[in-house]
Amino acid sequence: MTFSSEVVEHAATVELLRSIPELDIGESSGCRLAIVIDTDSQRRDREIWTAVQQLPGVVELAVAMVAFDDDGQQNDSQADC
């Protein structure tokens, strides 16, 4: 996560992050903070992603790694249309 200024200046947002059970908080440096999201569904993933993106002071989310399970087998272009 990249904040608009030093992470320490966004204590309220970091508190909100801590309240999300599927989210772990890692190292921080300057404006950046490492987080990991571990959910059981892609829908929940998406919800958290959107929520985090909209938190005060958050300017960017970048992904370092994704692991996925067998959900992928169900991918079908028509499934969501």
């Binding site: 990249t2 772990d24 890692g26 190292e27 921080s28 440096s29 404006c31 950046r32 903070l33 490492a34 987080i35 990991v36 571990d38 892609q42 829908r43 993933d45 998406r46 300017v59 960017e60 970048a62 992904v63 370092a64 790694m65 994704v66 692991a67 996925f68 399970d69 959900d71 992928g72 087998q73 169900q74 991918n75 079908d76 272009s77 499934a79 969501d80 249309c81």
Partner: protein
């Protein structure tokens, strides 16, 4: 997923994220065994490098494989391109292999129905059709072909069949960039590299939306800003996009306004005397189009003549033509007149899909040359490609209807002779007449034979023309009902193209095969096969070799070299032929390596030197020219034509354009007169239509629409409309409307002032959605040199469904 593994992956993810947070700069070339330290070590889980399968940025990923299945994707920290970052498409790339409707068996259309057949039968059907009528066969390929796939197709067609009807989909996306580079420098592809984005003071995006289309590249610039650096972004565009949102200045132009703007900047540089006289005197010539029969060579004009021609492009006149206010043109003129700053221009489809594509490419190069904003890190005119190997496979291997590998062309006898010698073919094997470019190829395929449509069998690999060709009804859908026209499609999933296919071949995808790509910054990348393809899906390269061998067995003379051997013959250490045309033996050797080692001999002819295959195994790609050093190591080149980095520049020259079309080591600064677009809005069709892409989907969506998170995020194409236009037409948000041009219609939901915000009189539609084919409306008018169609502007009307005529 068991909890132990889940825990491992979670801690690996934390390590990967943590390293991005504290990460520093990485060396420019790294070895494969570096930078993967943080990835999880787990029994049965292996990691290996591959370039992302999607865009021309060429990010590297680490692919985690367990039990024969891709289970994880991580951004590759050791890769200089992306330094561990990926965009939303990249981190889901592993899932593209696992859509549930993968094609797994060859399918032949019999009495209107697709029936399963065996591979032997499929190869025999194709070989027979080619054997019976080799000159009416055409091969339509792709900038997603791997380098060896494209090279094999090229050799098969031009060397084996003596048939030049081979062209790629890249004709639709970057052909004008090629002709622009050739006209200016005498040789294709950018001089600079992505490092320019790290060092520029000003970034100008010309009709380009890298925030969505090349997001990782764009983040190199926005990252600099978040570190407190000042980078001025100037977005010149026909509609507001996410790039405009990040821009310092947004200059909204009318379609074709870019031509006028570039002329206006050059006018100001000349008029104010702020151009770089020393650079121009030492390194440039002036050039104009010939009055009769213009060519890419053009004719020399004096500086005086250039001044005379450009004199009328005053800021006020340019404002009239482009819609950009005169003071903004002056601002651009001043920036380019300032040598103390560094300016990078970026462009992609906006300047390439343009009926003046060659002209606008040459003009933007001209702006940089005239102003001397060239050849220093951060000072660069740079075109981006949309596909992962448009550069590597199309531009370098030369899989275009007129080209041969190594920058050679079929029209030149000495080039054909060189190529025949390299391929050990009989003299005269290569045909001197260029084949059909894409639009022509499909015209000839969809036209009845009795009316002169002389392409009867068309083989499409790794692309989806049924969705991407312009004016689809004329160029693709009209194939329907033509009995003697036979369409062969190699694909991974059912597409708009397979719907009309007579024979469908199931293809292996990405890490299901060995591969090599070449990205937008001249970087050649390699990866190994990591998992088996599903069912009977097979490598595209194998298909080409198997067809060639079947023709060899049938006695086709072209499939033999001068010694009577198969043109793709590979021998083992004991001199025994390896039967690579039998799929069970295809991986007995590394066919990619054999083909690449043969191909790379061509690469020295235009100073695009490639290293041996094994060097690419070790690196996260290398930017050509890659030249061997005295100590035996291989050194890549970041900045071509600049003495400080390019080994081919003569010492003391500072800059040298060593493939200059005027044979004097100079680049050409072109003048082109502004001309309006071929179709402009009128009373009947009052709106501009622009088409393009979105962040979540890649091209026709064949792969990304099968990734649930991406499909959910962007489930349908839409038409972006200006709120005033919508209000005037009484159209509501989300309402379905009909977009109609003189060529076709498309029904879409309306998104008013959505992600992109077009000005009044313009609508935008993305083309990723196979259920809403906007290319039924687009225009096949194309650039006279590059033959690339203009998908960015044509005239349409927007009808409420109640107003639309019911199709009869």
């Amino acid at each position: 997923m068991d909890s132990k593994r889940r825990g491992f992956l979670k801690s690996a993810a934390m390590a990967a994220a943590g390293s991005l947070v504290v990460g520093g700069k990485l060396p420019s070339a790294v070895r494969a065994d570096q930078g993967v330290g943080e990835l999880p070590v787990l029994d049965g889980l292996t990691w290996n490098k591959a370039p992302c399968r999607f865009c021309g940025t060429g990010c590297h990923v680490q692919v985690g494989v367990e039990s024969g299945r891709v289970v994880a994707i991580a951004g590759d920290k050791a890769a200089d391109v992306n330094k561990g970052l990926l965009c939303v498409k990249g981190y889901h790339v592993g899932g593209i292999l696992y859509g549930k409707d993968r094609l797994t068996k060859p399918l032949l259309r019999k009495e209107g129905k697709l029936v399963e057949i065996e591979w032997d039968e499929a190869i025999e059907i194709i070989a027979k059709r080619i054997f019976e009528s080799p000159n009416t066969f055409a091969f339509y390929g792709s900038g997603q072909w791997t380098i060896p796939e494209g090279y094999a197709a090229q050799k098969f067609m031009k060397g084996g069949l003596g048939n030049n009807h081979i062209d790629p989909n890249a004709r639709l996306c970057m052909a004008s960039a090629v002709t622009g580079f050739l006209a200016t420098y005498g040789v294709d592809e950018p001089a600079g590299c992505y490092q320019d984005l790290d060092e520029c003071d000003v970034l100008i995006t010309w009709g380009n939306n890298p925030a969505e289309m090349h997001p990782v590249l764009f983040s190199r610039v926005t990252d600099r800003r978040s570190r407190g650096e000042t980078v001025r972004i100037i977005d010149i565009s026909t509609r507001r996009t996410r790039t405009s949102d990040a821009a310092t200045d947004y200059l909204e132009m009318q379609p074709h306004g870019d031509v006028a703007i570039s002329l206006g900047i050059m006018h100001l540089l000349i008029q104010n005397g702020s151009y770089d006289k020393s650079f121009v005197e030492k390194h440039c010539n002036f050039r104009g189009a010939e009055a009769e029969t213009p060519t890419l060579q053009g004719e020399a004009i004096s500086e005086e003549e250039f001044r005379n021609r450009i004199a009328k492009y005053t800021p006020e006149y340019v404002a009239e033509l482009s819609g950009v206010p005169a003071d903004k043109i002056r601002m651009l003129g001043e920036l380019f007149g300032n040598r103390d700053i560094r300016i990078t221009s970026l462009w992609c489809m906006g300047m390439n899909q343009h009926t003046m594509g060659t002209a606008i490419n040459s003009l933007v190069h001209g702006v940089h040359l005239l102003s001397g904003h060239f050849g220093r890190p951060g000072d660069a005119p740079t075109s981006l490609t949309g596909q992962p190997s448009a550069c590597g496979t199309v531009r370098e291997v030369g899989t275009l209807a007129h080209a041969l590998p190594g920058g050679r062309v079929v029209a030149k006898p000495e080039h054909r002779q060189q190529c025949e010698e390299f391929w050990n073919l009989k003299s005269g094997s290569i045909n001197e007449v260029p084949g059909y470019h894409t639009v022509k190829m499909f015209e000839q395929f969809t036209k009845p034979t009795a009316e002169g449509g002389d392409i009867t069998t068309l083989f499409v690999q790794v692309t989806n023309p049924g969705q991407t060709l312009p004016n689809l009804n004329a160029l693709f859908n009209s194939k329907q009902g033509l009995e003697n026209k036979f369409l062969i499609v190699s694909e991974v999933y059912p597409t708009a193209t397979t719907q009309l296919a007579d024979l469908i071949l199931p293809a292996a995808l990405w890490v299901e095969k060995n591969g090599m790509f070449g990205n937008s910054e001249r970087r050649t990348q390699q990866w190994f096969k990591m998992v088996e393809p599903p069912g009977e899906a097979r490598d595209d390269c194998w298909m080409t070799i198997a067809i060639a061998h079947k023709l060899f067995e049938m006695g086709h003379e072209g499939m033999k070299d001068k010694n009577g051997e198969f043109i793709f013959s590979i021998k083992d250490a004991d001199g025994r032929e390896i039967p690579i045309w039998e799929f069970e033996h295809y991986y007995d050797t590394n066919v990619d390596k054999h083909l690449f080692e043969e191909y790379r001999l061509f690469s020295t002819m235009k100073h695009k030197n490639l290293a041996p295959y094994d060097e690419y195994v070790k690196a996260r790609g290398l930017r050509w020219p890659v030249v061997q050093q005295e100590d035996g190591s291989w050194r890549e080149t970041r900045f071509r034509f600049s003495e400080f980095d390019d080994p081919f520049v003569t010492k003391g020259q500072e800059f040298e354009f060593y493939h200059s079309s005027s044979n004097d080591g100079r680049a050409q600064i072109w003048f082109h007169e502004y001309a309006p677009p071929p179709e402009v809005p009128d009373e009947d069709y009052p709106m501009w239509l622009c088409t393009g892409r979105v962040l979540e989907h890649w091209h026709t969506g064949t792969l990304t629409r099968r990734l649930s998170p991406l499909n959910r995020a962007m489930p349908t194409a839409y038409v972006e409309m200006n709120s005033e236009d919508a209000k005037a037409a009484n159209i509501r948000q989300g309402e379905r409307v009909i977009i109609e041009s003189r060529r076709g219609t498309c029904e879409l939901p309306v998104w008013i002032d959505g992600r992109g915000r077009p000005p009044r009189g313009t609508v935008f539609v993305p083309f990723f959605d196979e259920t809403k084919l906007i290319n039924t409306c687009t225009l096949e008018a194309h650039d006279p040199f590059s033959k690339q169609p203009d998908y960015k502007k044509c005239a349409v009307r927007v009808l409420k469904k109640s107003e639309a005529k019911v199709p009869s």
